[in-house]
C-alpha cells in the first residue's frame, strides 16, 4: 500500500508560539499568535520530516504535530532505509519527548562522585564552568564519549576537541559491525557488506538477528517482507542457523541449532557441499577450473559428516540446506554476532564471505544477481561527508572506547565530555568505566535524562530532544550509499533546555577554542552549501532558501540504489584465497566448571538500554518470551527440569568477569547447554521505570580473548548457573501451557 498518498509531506519548521488546547474541553481558547499557512487543517495537524535518533540506524520519520505538540511518529515512505516503516522504539520517541522525568535544567555535582547528589544551576554558570575546564585541559588530556559519531553535535564537539589538542574521541554504541570492517579491510574498501535480502530468493542467516539489532532492523524487516511476498509468483526461503531461537529465527522456514562458535565451519561445510553439487551438475563453468580445484582442496575437510560432528547439525540437514540454496538463487548468507563475536570470528566471517561469493557466482550463471552496485562517486561523497563530520573512523571501534577509558583510569584526563551516551551502564563491567570517570578532573554530560553516568558527571547539560533540535546525520548505512538525514525541530524546545552543541560552542569560544560556527543549524546549512552541487535531486535553479526548504521537506538527501549487477565477480570474492579458508575451533572464557554457554542479546524493545525508561517499551512484551517489565534468564525446559528450576526461580549467573541475578524463564527456544540474558535492563539510576529493574547483562562481559585490540568475543563466554532459592514473579503475557495450543485451536 502506498503510504505516500495517505500522508502530506510536512513543510518546513512550524510557526512558533502555537499553544492552546482546542479539541480538549478547556475554559480558555488561545488562538495562534501567527496564523498557520492557508490550506492546513490545524486539528489534523502538520507532518514534519526529520530523522529518528532512538538508535543510530537513521530511519527517516515524519512527526504529526497538532497545535505545537508532537503526537505521532510515522515513517517517511521515501526514505531508503526504513521505506515508511518505524520500529517500536521509534514509535516511542514522542513518549521520550514528553517524559515526566526529562531533565529541564543544568545540574552541578555536590559531594563525592558516584553519590549522584546534583543541584540545579543556570546555563550561564554551567557554560562558564565548562569553558574554565576547557581552558585547563592540556595536550591529550581531554576526551569525548559519544553515543553516535555521525551527527552534528558530534561534529561540533570533534572540532572543539581538536582545538583542545586531543583526538580521544570514542563512540560507545558499538556492535559487531567493526568486525566486518576488519574482515573486509584486506579488500581495500573496508565496509559492512550489504546483503540484498529484498531481491534474494533464499537467505541463510548465521546467527544474524537482523530484525532485533544490527545495521537497521526496520530496513531488513522491509527487505524480508519483499523477499517473502514482494514477488507475487515466488516466495523467498529463509533459513536460520544459530544457538538460540531468536525473534529473527522465529520467522525462518527452517531453524538449525548450531553449537556456539562453529558457524564459520558450518558455512564452509555448506560451501563444500555446494561445490560438490556444482561439480556433479557442471556448474561454476565461468570460473577458472584451477580456482575451483584450489577451493575444493582447501575446504575438502569440511564434508557434511565432519561438519555435523563439529556443529551438531545432522549431515543430511547440511546437504539439504546446501541443495536448497543452490535451488533458490540468488541466495545470500548473512553472518551475525554469533559468527563475529567468537575467537574465530574473523576466519568465520571470511568463510561466510567465501560462501557468498560462490553463491553469487552460481546466481550469475543463471543471469541472476543480487549484488548492489554502488556508483564510485557515491563512495567518494560518503567519505567526504564523513570527513566533514570530522569524527575519525577509528573512533567508532571498541578499541577507541577502551583506550579512552584506559586513559581516564590513569588520571591523566582533565576534561571529559559525554554525549548522549551512558558508558557507565553500557560498557562491560570489566572496563571499570565508573572508576575511570571518577579519576577524571571534570566530566560534563550532555543528555535528556539523568542516568547511571550522571552519577559521575560534574556538570549535566539538558540537551534538546532530537524532535526539538537542529541537527543532521550522515548515516553509516551498509550500502555505502550516503544517506544524509536532516533533523529539524518539529516542536518548540522544552523550557530550561538548550541545544547542547550551541552551549558547547559558546563555552569553547569563551575558552578561546572557538571553531567559528554560530550553532548547529548553521552547521547543517554549511553542509548544504558544501555538498549541494554533488547532491543530485536538488534542482539547481533553487536559491539557497528554497534549496534549504526542499532539503528539509524531503527529510535529507540520499542517492538512489540499484541492485542489478552486470557482472558477478564482485569485490566479495576477490580477497578470498585458499589459504584463508580455514576456521579454527572456538575457545571460550571460563573453565570446565563453567557449564553453560552465555548468550547475551539485545531485545527488540530495549535495545542497548538507552530507552529502558520509556513505559511503552517496558510494557510491550518482548516478542519471543512475551515478558514485560523486567529481565530474565532463558533456560532450556529439560535442563530446567534437571536442575529443578521453574519459571520465576532466581538464578545466579556467574561468568569469569562478573555475575548477575535474574528470574529463570523456561524457554523452549534455547539449547540445553546455553543460557540467554537480554541487554537493556538493570540500570543503577535511570528514572522510575528502569532503575533497579532486572539485571545488566553487561556485567557478565569482559575482554576476551585478552591481547587482541578488536571487539571481544562476547558470545564465547561460559557461565555457572545456580539457584539462589528466592523467587520473583515474571510478567509474561503468554500462558505457558496455552502457547502450545494456539496453532491447533486457530488452525495455523
Amino acid at each position: 500500500m502506498d503510504r505516500r498518498k495517505f500522508l502530506k509531506i510536512g513543510g518546513t519548521v512550524a510557526a512558533t508560539g502555537l499553544v492552546g488546547s482546542c479539541g480538549q474541553i478547556a475554559q480558555k481558547v488561545i488562538p495562534f499568535a501567527i496564523p498557520p499557512d492557508e490550506g492546513i487543517n490545524p486539528v489534523e495537524g502538520w507532518f514534519y520530516n526529520t530523522a529518528c535518533r532512538m538508535c543510530d540506524s537513521g530511519c527517516g520519520i515524519m512527526v504529526r504535530v497538532v497545535e505545537g505538540r508532537a503526537k505521532k511518529v510515522e515513517g517517511n515512505p521515501d526514505h531508503p532505509i526504513n521505506k515508511g516503516g518505524v520500529c517500536a522504539r521509534g514509535q516511542a520517541a514522542v513518549q521520550q519527548l514528553y517524559h515526566p522525568e526529562r531533565l529541564m535544567t543544568p545540574m552541578r555535582r555536590e559531594g563525592a562522585k558516584g553519590t549522584g547528589n546534583l543541584v540545579p544551576i543556570t546555563w550561564e554558570e554551567a557554560i562558564s564552568m565548562i569553558s574554565e575546564n576547557m581552558k585547563n585541559a592540556k595536550e591529550d588530556s581531554s576526551f569525548i564519549i559519544a553515543g553516535d559519531g555521525s551527527d552534528m553535535t558530534a561534529a561540533i564537539t570533534a572540532r572543539i576537541l581538536k582545538n583542545m589538542g586531543s583526538d580521544n574521541f570514542a563512540v560507545s554504541g558499538f556492535d559487531s559491525r567493526e568486525k566486518f570492517i576488519e574482515a573486509t579491510s584486506s579488500t581495500g574498501t573496508p565496509k559492512v557488506p550489504y546483503y540484498d535480502i529484498a531481491n534474494a530468493s533464499a537467505v541463510l542467516l548465521l546467527g544474524a538477528d537482523i530484525f532485533e539489532g544490527g545495521a537497521s532492523p526496520v530496513h531488513y524487516g522491509w527487505a524480508f517482507g519483499q523477499m517473502r511476498r514482494g514477488n507475487k509468483t515466488k516466495r523467498g526461503q529463509l533459513f536460520y542457523a544459530g544457538p538460540r531461537l531468536s525473534m529473527t529465527a522465529a520467522s525462518a522456514d527452517h531453524f538449525f541449532a548450531v553449537k556456539q562458535g562453529t558457524l564459520g565451519q558450518f558455512a564452509l561445510g555448506i560451501a563444500n557441499e555446494i561445490l560438490h553439487i556444482a561439480e556433479e551438475e557442471h556448474l561454476l563453468k565461468n570460473l577458472p577450473a584451477t580456482k575451483v580445484e584450489e577451493w575444493r582442496h582447501a575446504i575438502g575437510g569440511y564434508t557434511p559428516e565432519e561438519t555435523s560432528i563439529r556443529t551438531t547439525v545432522p549431515a543430511d540437514k547440511v546437504k539439504h540446506l546446501a541443495m536448497e540454496l543452490v535451488e533458490h538463487l540468488p541466495a545470500v548468507v548473512v553472518p551475525g554476532d554469533d559468527v563475529a563475536l567468537h575467537t574465530n570470528g574473523l576466519e568465520s566471517l571470511k568463510a561466510v564471505e567465501f560462501l557468498n561469493s560462490i553463491l553469487r557466482e552460481l546466481a550469475a550463471e543463471k543471469g541472476l544477481s543480487s549484488v548492489p552496485v554502488l556508483p564510485k562517486e557515491n563512495k567518494e561523497l560518503y567519505r567526504a561527508m564523513n570527513e566533514f563530520i570530522g569524527v575519525p573512523e577509528k573512533a567508532k571501534k571498541y578499541s577507541a572506547l577502551k583506550g579512552v577509558i584506559g586513559k581516564a583510569a590513569t588520571g591523566s584526563q582533565r576534561f571529559g565530555l559525554i554525549l548522549h551516551s551512558n558508558p557507565v551502564y553500557a560498557t562491560p563491567k570489566a572496563l571499570k568505566a565508573a572508576d575511570a570517570l571518577t579519576k577524571v578532573k571534570f566530566v560534563a554530560q550532555v543528555t535528556n535524562f539523568l542516568d547511571d553516568t550522571s552519577l559521575y558527571a560534574d556538570v549535566v547539560l539538558p540537551d534538546l530532544h532530537f524532535l526539538e533540535s537542529w541537527s543532521a546525520q550522515v548515516v553509516d548505512f551498509p550500502h555505502g550509499v550516503p544517506v544524509f538525514n536532516t533533523i529539524q525541530p518539529v516542536v518548540n524546545a522544552a523550557p530550561g533546555t538548550m541545544q547542547a552543541g550551541d552551549a558547547l560552542l559558546k563555552a569553547a569560544s569563551m575558552a578561546g577554542l572557538g571553531v567559528g560556527i554560530a550553532n548547529q543549524e548553521v552547521m547543517v546549512k554549511n553542509m548544504l552549501i558544501q555538498f549541494r552541487s554533488k547532491w543530485n535531486g536538488i534542482p539547481a535553479g533553487l536559491n539557497e532558501k528554497q534549496a534549504w526548504e526542499a532539503l528539509l521537506q524531503k527529510g535529507g538527501w540520499w542517492a538512489d540504489i540499484h541492485h542489478k549487477a552486470e557482472k558477478a565477480i564482485s569485490e566479495g570474492s576477490a580477497w578470498v584465497t585458499s589459504d584463508q579458508l580455514k576456521v579454527g575451533d572456538p575457545a571460550f572464557a571460563g573453565g570446565n566448571d563453567f557449564t553453560f554457554y552465555l548468550h547475551p542479546y539485545s531485545t527488540v524493545n530495549m535495545g542497548d538500554g538507552n530507552v529502558s525508561n520509556l513505559s511503552w517499551l517496558q510494557e510491550m512484551p518482548e516478542p519471543m518470551t512475551t515478558v514485560s517489565w523486567g529481565s530474565w534468564v532463558e533456560i532450556n525446559p529439560k535442563t530446567a527440569k534437571g536442575m529443578g528450576v521453574a519459571n520465576g526461580d532466581m538464578l545466579k549467573v556467574e561468568s569469569p568477569f562478573g555475575s548477575v541475578e535474574a528470574p529463570a524463564l523456561v524457554y523452549p527456544g534455547i539449547g540445553p547447554e546455553t543460557v540467554a540474558v537480554p541487554f537493556g535492563y538493570g540500570h543503577v539510576s535511570f528514572g522510575k521505570n528502569a532503575t533497579a529493574r532486572g539485571a545488566n547483562a553487561m556485567d557478565l562481559l569482559g575482554d576476551f580473548p585478552n591481547g587482541n585490540g578488536g571487539l571481544p568475543a562476547w558470545r564465547a563466554i561460559r557461565v555457572k548457573v545456580t539457584k539462589t532459592g528466592t523467587k520473583k514473579d515474571i510478567i509474561r503475557e503468554a500462558n505457558p501451557k496455552g502457547e502450545y495450543e494456539g496453532t491447533e485451536i486457530f488452525q495455523l
Binding site: 508560539g17 499553544v19 492552546g20 482546542c22 479539541g23 480538549q24 474541553i25 478547556a26 475554559q27 480558555k28 481558547v29 488561545i30 488562538p31 495562534f32 499568535a33 501567527i34 496564523p35 490550506g39 492546513i40 487543517n41 490545524p42 486539528v43 489534523e44
Partner: protein, 187 residues
C-alpha cells in the same frame, strides 16, 4: 384507619369509569414524563444562559451585524477544519492597523500584537471531549452558523443560546437525513 378501609375490595375502583380514569391517568402521566425529560435536557431556544466577560469587549453585533463581515473572514478554519478557530491577533490587525486605534480595546490589542502574545478568550461554546464535531462538513452543506450558535450578529456579548446536548444535534441530523451512526461524532 380501620373504618376508612372497609376491606381489600375498596382498593379497586368499583365503576368502569373509575377504572378507565385510572388507565387514562397512567397513559397521560407516561407521555408527560417523556416530554418533560425530553425538554428538560433539550435546547433552551432564545435565551443566553452563559455570557462570560471577554478580555476585549468585542461586539459581534457591530462586526457581523452592522458591518456585515462574513463569519469566515475571521473564523477562517471553519471551512477546512473540524474547529472554527478563534482569529489570531494578526487577523484583527488587518483592519485595526489604522482603524479605531484610539479606543483602549484596540490599544490593548496592539500591545499584544507587539508582544506576539495571543489573547486568552473565554470559551463560550463547549463540547465534551468525547464528542467530535466537524465544522467543515456543516459549512460545506451551507449551514447557517446561526442554526447552532444563535443570532450571533445581534449580540453585543456572545452568549450560549443552545445547550449542545445530544438531542439538539440529533434532531437536526434526523431532519436532514444526516448520518446518525454513533461513530459519526463519538470515538
Amino acid at each position: 384507619m380501620r373504618s376508612s378501609l372497609k376491606d381489600i375490595g375498596t382498593l379497586m375502583p368499583k365503576s368502569a369509569i373509575g377504572r378507565n380514569l385510572a388507565l387514562l391517568i397512567l397513559i397521560v402521566g407516561g407521555v408527560l414524563t417523556y416530554k418533560v425529560t425530553y425538554f428538560y435536557q433539550g435546547p433552551i431556544m432564545g435565551l443566553s444562559t452563559y455570557t462570560p466577560k471577554q478580555p476585549i469587549p468585542f461586539s459581534h453585533k457591530q462586526h457581523a451585524g452592522d458591518l456585515k463581515i462574513n463569519c469566515q473572514y475571521c473564523h477562517t478554519y471553519a471551512r477546512r477544519s473540524e474547529m472554527a478557530g478563534v482569529p489570531s491577533i494578526s487577523t484583527c490587525n488587518n483592519c485595526h492597523a489604522n482603524l479605531a486605534v484610539e479606543s483602549d480595546a484596540i490599544t490593548f490589542l496592539k500591545k499584544n500584537i507587539e508582544a506576539k502574545t495571543p489573547i486568552e478568550w473565554e470559551r463560550v461554546f463547549k463540547l465534551p471531549d468525547h464528542v467530535f464535531f466537524n465544522h467543515k462538513r456543516h459549512i460545506k452543506k451551507e449551514f447557517e452558523c446561526q442554526k447552532c450558535h444563535g443570532p450571533i450578529e445581534t449580540m453585543e456579548v456572545v452568549g450560549k443560546v443552545n445547550e449542545f446536548k445530544m438531542g439538539f444535534c440529533l434532531d437536526c441530523h434526523q431532519q436532514e437525513q444526516a448520518p446518525t451512526d454513533c461513530w459519526t461524532c463519538h470515538t
